[in-house]
Structure formats: C-alpha cells, structure tokens
C-alpha cells in the first residue's frame, strides 16, 4: 500500500494538532509516585546513593565470602586434626599393644630358656651353664631397671631393683632368695 494514499488532509492535520498534549493527573498520583520512590529508598531521608547501596552490597558479599571461607577453613582444619589425632591414637594404641605382646613373648622365651638351662645344668659343661646363668641375671637386672622406669610406684619392681643393686654392690644377698624372686 502506498503511504501517500492516506496522507492527511489539512483538516485532519488541524484536528490532530488540536488534540491536547497535556493532562493534569492530580495530586494523588504525585504523592503515590513519591511514596513509591521513598519506599525504594530513591528519595527522602532514607535515600542512599546507588553507589552507596552497591558498595554496601559488595561489602556484604565480601564479608559473607570471607566468613564462608574462614568457617570452611576452620571446619577443614578441625576435621583434619581430628583425623590425625585419631590416627595417632590408634597407632599408639597399636604400638603399646604390640610392645606388651613382645614383653609377653620375650618373658615366656626367657623363662623357657632358663628352664632348658636348668635341665642341662647337671649334664653339660659347668662353665657354659655359669655363663648362661650370668647372662640370665644380667638380663633380669636390666629388665628390672626398665620395669622401675616403667612403673616407679610399683612396690614389687622397686623392691626387686633394690635387692639386685644390693647384691651387685655387697654380694651378700641370699642367692636362694634371688632365685625365689626370679621365679616368683
């Protein structure tokens, strides 16, 4: 369609030109609009410039991010520490059990060895038997010293050590008594 087919006549132009270009809205709409702007903090006493609000938002975001990071770090550290502590405790527990078992095995072997030595004492070389007995006493003495270090308040351990020290220093100890103590 050709636009010129519907060009306006002079009368039509005049009529269009005579249409009002403005209309009063009344005070209500103005107040309503001002209230809406105040409500959005774009006007009035609660006004904050956009840059202020934006900065506030950014600051809040940064603070939240930092808090999130720090709390994450703390939780991570706590979890890590807890794991390490548990692992060490478990390892220590395992080591103590292993050490106790080793003591038990060594003790049994020690007693068995002395039993065997006692059984061959009359039939074999006396010198070898004496040497075995001295080694047994030295081992016993060393073991008692460690036992006292392990349990300083244990009266049995302390008494054993005192007796053995007295024997080493004075040589007046009753061998039978020591033997009894050993076998005890």
């Amino acid at each position: 369609m050709n636009d010129n087919d519907h060009d306006l006549t002079e009368q039509e132009r005049a009529e269009l030109a005579s249409l009002p270009r403005e209309r009063d809205t009344g005070q209500l709409l103005e107040e309503r609009t001002v209230q809406a702007l105040r409500h959005q903090q774009l006007l009035g006493t609660r006004f904050r410039p956009r840059w202020y609000r934006r900065t506030l938002l950014v600051a809040a975001g940064v603070a939240a991010a930092v808090a999130f990071f720090v709390s994450g770090l703390a939780v991570g550290q706590w979890l890590g520490t807890r794991t390490v502590t548990d692992s060490m405790a478990a390892a220590n527990h395992q080591t103590a059990m292993q050490a106790a078992a080793a003591v038990q095995r060594a003790g049994s072997a020690y007693v068995l060895a002395l039993t065997a030595l006692a059984q061959v004492a009359d039939t074999t070389d006396d010198r070898a038997v004496d040497q075995g007995r001295e080694v047994a006493l030295a081992s016993l003495y060393a073991a008692v010293r460690e036992l006292v270090l392990l349990a300083p308040d244990d009266p049995m351990a302390v008494t054993l050590r005192q007796e053995l020290e007295r024997l080493q220093q004075g040589g007046t100890a009753d061998v039978t008594q020591v033997t009894n103590l050993v076998w005890f």
Partner: protein
C-alpha cells in the same frame, strides 16, 4: 511531611523558585545524588502532564493503567538517571519508557498488540448508527497496534524510523500500520458505512 503539602513558608517558596530555574539535568542530578524530593517534584510537575496524556492516549483512555504507567515510568527513570546520557531530551526518554510499559500492558492483556502483523484481520468496536464521535474517542477505538503508530506519528511527531526503533518493527511496517490506522480512523469519523471496519 504532610500529604499534599505545598511549600508555604517563604524559605520553601524561595527554594522552589530556585529549583524551577534549574534545568532537567541539574534537577535529575540532585535526585540521583541526594535523593532530593523537591527536585523530583519539580521534574515530575514539569513532565508528567505530557507523559500522562501520552500514556492515556496510547492505552485507549484507560486512566488507571495510564496512572500506573506514569508511576512506573518515574520509578524506572529515577533508577536509570545514572545511565541516561542526556543525548536526548528527558521528555523523549520518559516517553520511550512509558511506551515500553504500555506495550507490556498490551501483551499482558492480550489486546492484539500484534495487530502489527500484516495478515491479521481486525474488527473495531461497532459504531452505533448516527453516533457522532470525536477524534479522541475514535483513537480509543483503534486496535492498540494501529493506535500506537498513529499516536506516535500523527500526534507526537515521531518519524517512521523512530517508531520502528521503539516498537522493534520495520519502518515499512510502521508506514503500513499508519496507513491502515488512518483509514480506520476516517471510517470511524466519517459517514457511517458499515458496522465493521475491515483492515
């Protein structure tokens, strides 16, 4: 502040007079930077009567919708002062915002804004025999798409290129719509020939 309050003290009157001498840009900067309510009211009173009339005409005389459009236009304008480059007049910018809001209302109310489409056959509200209506009333009876182009071109003085840009249509579509809108307008104002006006 009391509702509907107007400046009454000499100091207020002087302040208002001083604001009245400021240009749109200076007032807008006061609103933007300080939230100056008096500066806003000055801008509002300067531009709203034209803005309201424009919205009312585009919306076919619906006063409630026109008031909502005016309020929302100012809200968006105040929020957008920082981005406004002042390459165009403030009034033109406000009209553009209001026009977009009107289009949104058309779409929401499904008022065949899409009348812009060439293939649609539109029927206006039937005119009663011997009914005499004036130009303003005839405009309200146009389909929204035609009415918008007629108002923008014949009343507001926009070019087809400007209309095309604002309505996101081609300039040729704008011309076609204007031609059809004018023809429909003439049929509404002229001798009563038919109950229905086909486009």
């Amino acid at each position: 502040m009391q509702p509907f309050s107007r400046p009454t003290t000499p100091r207020d009157v002087n302040a208002t007079d001083a604001l009245a001498e400021l240009g749109d840009r200076a007032l807008a900067e006061r609103v933007q930077l300080k939230g100056d309510e008096q500066a806003f009211r000055m801008l509002y009173r300067r531009h709203t009567p034209k803005l309201y009339q424009f919205a009312l005409r585009v919306l076919g005389g619906n006063e409630l919708d026109a008031e909502d459009v005016v309020q929302e236009t100012w809200l968006r304008a105040v929020e957008g002062f920082r981005e406004f480059r002042w390459e165009a007049a403030l009034g033109t910018w406000l009209t553009g915002i209001a026009l977009n809001l009107c289009r949104g209302l058309f779409r929401r109310h499904d008022r065949r804004w899409i009348a812009i489409r060439e293939d649609l056959e539109l029927v206006t509200a039937p005119r009663q025999e011997h009914e005499i209506i004036d130009l303003e009333a005839a405009l309200t009876r146009l389909p929204p798409g035609y009415r918008t182009v007629v108002v923008l071109h014949d009343v507001e003085g926009f070019t087809h290129e400007q209309i095309a840009e604002r309505l996101e249509i081609s300039a040729n579509t704008s011309k076609s719509q204007l031609s059809r809108g004018r023809r429909m307008l003439r049929s509404l104002l002229g001798p009563h020939e038919s109950e229905q006006v086909r486009v």
